[in-house]
Symmetry: C2
Subunit: 222 residues, 2 copies
């Protein structure tokens, strides 16, 4: 038999906080790196998990108290050097939620850090986060992915800010609205308007039910 | 300690044969599915492989005799049901080469099958191949990926046929050439022309050295 390989799952759990893309890290409760902030992660439980996505959902729930509506496989990070316990395979996923979902879970060991100002994290977690941020920046160009960061209902100006936080650049309002129309993933919430400050009331939108756990892409980007 | 998880690598090894996208399968020399055609694959060797890509290169070379210039991680397929030996994680890669490279390796256990007419393969290999074909179709829209299928040198009409085989549709010659110019990954081979049939001699091109192991993408697709 071959020398055993450690099989784990790590989740890059992203949200928008204070207008910036942030990652939820969880304090490690055991060695290695005990007490350090790291990606929520853990061993695959062969007796319990049917597949990898199953393991990711279980682990994220254990470590943060949250069942995220949108999880996507990111990439697998594997090798002899990334984990002091031995040769390891980490199947990385990313999840996206509105900040209020993390806040209302009140998990004492979870904190949010801006992705563009992270200190050195355990294992290769900085690389895994950088890969997730690249993926999201890329998909924000042409898909509905960032909508999962915008909460249950949102105005179009708020959604635009979410896209801008993902892309790291300002977008033109007119072309943003045209692209959203073209994507056709949103529906107006009947009779719901939001009034904020001196602005006139703005229509609230939500993802259509069929896109709540999914994604839609445009042939041409923003 | 947790129940051990099997850690393997499988490679979807693609080429163009008779104008169609094909996958190189390798006859399995042991159980399960001994004698069946399947993706070249094998266990990660923790003592030998530094990382997953290393394992993929080693395994593909052992099973086909070929060291491919372009390998990319595809996705990880994992779960309790996909391998009769137990809970398994397969990190899948895809590789692209010109048909002549496979032909000249003369490996007795390797054969090429068109991807759109595959019978039922061992494990979840049909799913893995379908995922690879989707990825290539998608990337052929906006990147230099298919160039790795075109051989060391090629004329533009031949490269267009490679793109068309990947995309499964005919392309407009003028816009194809404009997109290739925009990608700027090709260089003319000095003094080399190809004469074929009644056509006038056509310039031969090759990938610029810096793109031989890589990829370049356009902001907007073909």
């Amino acid at each position: 038999m071959h020398q055993a390989v450690i099989a784990t799952v790590d989740i890059v759990f992203l949200t928008i906080h204070n207008g910036r893309l942030g990652v939820a890290l969880s304090k490690r409760d055991k060695e290695p790196f005990q007490g350090g902030d790291a990606l929520p992660g853990g061993y695959i439980h062969a007796q319990e998990d049917r597949d990898c996505l199953d393991a990711a959902v279980r682990i994220l729930h254990e470590k943060t108290g949250i069942l995220p509506p949108y999880l996507e496989q990111l990439q697998t990070f594997a090798g002899a050097a990334r984990d002091p316990r031995g040769w390891s395979v980490s199947v990385a996923y990313f999840a996206l939620v509105h900040y209020r979902v993390i806040e209302s879970a009140h998990h004492p060991d979870v904190a949010i850090f801006p992705v563009d100002a992270l200190r050195r994290l355990p294992f290769d977690h900085n690389d895994i986060i950088a890969t997730a941020v690249d993926r999201i920046r890329n998909k924000a160009q042409y898909s509905s992915l960032p909508c999962h960061l915008a909460g249950e209902t949102f105005t179009l100006p708020k959604l635009q800010k979410v896209y801008e936080a993902c892309l790291g650049e300002a977008l033109n309002k007119v072309s943003f609205r045209r692209k959203m129309q073209e994507l056709a993933v949103l529906e107006a919430v009947p009779g719901q308007m939001e009034t904020e400050g001196a602005h006139r009331p703005a229509q609230l939108y939500r993802l259509k039910a069929e896109f709540k756990n999914g994604l839609k892409s445009l042939a041409r980007g923003l």
